[in-house]
């Protein structure tokens, strides 16, 4: 590139230094959404795609005419309106198949997608033209056991689909699986009473099919234990609250946290957004 070709760049950078860097107007868009979690059963009938804003960016509403697309299958869901008012900080959007929506424990999808929306073997699920928002998996990476999902970054765990309202759940398409269970097991329930963004304590309740030892813990997005809320014998419905503090009593940073119930070799996980 010669000097002449570089000139417009130089002009722009000089302008940027004096304009953009100092007084750039707030520019609401949708760049910061990412494809955060995907789940499928083996035949592709039960699938969900969860999108997420992994920061406190509050104005990522402008999704109209943009799409989520499977590169492998060519399936595409195009949004036909922007998101309703309300902060998008740490928000989730849930796209799910009809069969997913019908399962016990499934939060209501914000959008319905057709079965086999993405490939169960390998795929790139793209969020519009935002390259940084896509989720890629290669052959063998997507769990198909009916309870485990794949998250951005390649980690796997019990599925935790969460919708825009903050309603979180977990599904199990394989009741015979040894893998610990989910909310659709009779009597094994975990509810977040104040889902979504809350500046107050988060109310929680859980119940077991039969009395026994249980643990209820809060983990951050990286999997670090932040708070042990309950560790003892549970009998009947247990109600408690998390005040947003860690074990030392310090307030935890804003972000997404996982509430995990463990009892009798089973687990249930719920995802919440904590915003002070």
């Amino acid at each position: 590139m010669n000097t002449r070709q570089l000139a417009p760049l130089a002009v722009a950078i000089a302008a940027a230094a004096s304009i953009l860097g100092i007084s750039a107007p707030s520019h609401a868009a949708s760049h910061l959404w990412v494809i955060n979690e995907v789940f499928s059963n083996a035949d592709g009938t039960v699938q969900f795609v969860e999108m997420h804003v992994p920061s406190s960016a509050a104005n990522e509403h402008f999704i109209n005419n943009k799409w989520v697309r499977s590169v492998t299958t060519g399936s595409q869901h195009t949004f036909t309106a922007n998101l309703p008012p309300g902060s998008t900080a740490f928000a989730c959007l849930l796209l799910g198949t009809t069969a997913f929506a019908a399962l016990p424990g499934a939060p209501t999808p914000d959008y319905i997608i057709p079965a086999d929306f993405f490939d169960v073997d390998h795929d790139t699920v793209k969020w519009w033209s935002y390259v940084t928002g896509e989720l890629v998996f290669t052959s063998g990476q997507l769990p198909l056991d009916g309870v485990t999902s794949l998250s951005r970054g390649g980690s796997t765990g019990i599925n935790t689909p969460t919708n825009f309202a903050g309603e979180s759940g977990s599904v199990n398409t394989n009741p015979t699986a040894i893998t610990p269970g989910s909310a659709n097991e009779p009597g094994f329930v975990l509810h977040v009473l104040l889902p979504g963004n809350s500046d107050a304590s988060v109310g929680l309740e859980f119940a077991l099919p039969q009395a026994g030892p249980a643990q209820l813990m809060v983990f951050d997005a990286t999997g670090r234990l932040q708070r042990r809320l309950f560790d003892g014998r549970a009998d009947g419905l247990v109600q408690l609250a998390w005040d947003g503090a860690d074990e030392s009593g310090r307030g935890v940073p804003n972000g997404v946290y996982l509430i995990r119930l463990e009892a009798g070799g089973r687990q249930a996980v719920r995802k919440i957004a904590h915003v002070r």
């Binding site: 570089l6 002009v11 299958t73 900080a89 990286t222």
Partner: protein, 211 residues
């Protein structure tokens, strides 16, 4: 003054002025055209459907938005990605997310990051900024054919409409869907005019069969 600033000063001294008349469409622009101010502010002129990035006209809302000239202000302490947090503390690029962060604003493209940065720490950054600029110039050539290819060419990714993958501004691979069926809700293959049956690598001259 950094080496980058010196290079910029030299480039500015040798550069022809960027006058509004240089804008290809300005003679036909409507009275309410905002191109002049948006050229300075790296913004988008709605009436003319033209954006300005690094002095280049970008006549694609898709490409312009993807480049994200104005970034997104965030509370950097809220970033979930550890790489982004580190990048935010150094006004750097997150190696994981490939996004730049300057003074608490996230920029979805490296070009916008360098523009916001306004200076470079070393020669490598000067070269990197120039490379991003060249990628933009290459991407602009795709706009009339396929805006999504333009984005993919700039970012070095896959166009999900034409299934062409780009690297360093060149088409390197074409991977049609491995499953032949296109169900309800699927956009037609080759949407937006990727009609050519072959793509030619500019660097190698090799042709790749497509579709």
């Amino acid at each position: 003054m950094t080496a980058f600033a010196l290079a910029l000063a030299l480039a500015l001294a040798l550069a022809p002025p960027l006058a509004p008349a240089a804008l290809g469409h300005s003679l036909a622009a409507p009275d309410w055209c905002t191109c002049e101010e948006n050229q300075r502010a790296a913004g988008w002129c709605g009436p003319c459907a033209t954006g300005y990035v690094a002095g280049q006209e970008v006549r694609s809302a898709t490409l312009f938005e993807a480049i994200d000239t104005h970034g997104h202000e965030v509370d950097v302490s809220s970033l979930e990605c550890p790489g982004c947090k580190t990048a935010a503390s150094r006004n750097d690029i997150c190696a994981t997310c490939d996004r730049g962060i300057v003074d608490g604003r996230i920029y979805a493209s490296k070009l916008s990051y360098y523009l916001a940065l306004g200076e470079a720490k070393n020669a490598a950054e000067i070269a990197a900024a120039a490379h991003e600029y060249e990628l933009l110039r290459l991407a602009l050539t795709d706009i009339d054919r396929c805006e999504t290819c333009a984005v993919a060419r700039y970012f070095g990714s896959l166009c999900p409409l034409c299934w062409v993958t780009y690297h360093d501004g060149e088409p390197v691979e074409t991977t049609p869907p491995t499953r032949s069926r296109l169900r309800s809700g699927a956009a037609p293959r080759g949407e937006r005019g990727m009609r050519a049956s072959r793509v030619r690598s500019r660097s190698t001259g090799a042709e790749t069969a497509t579709m």
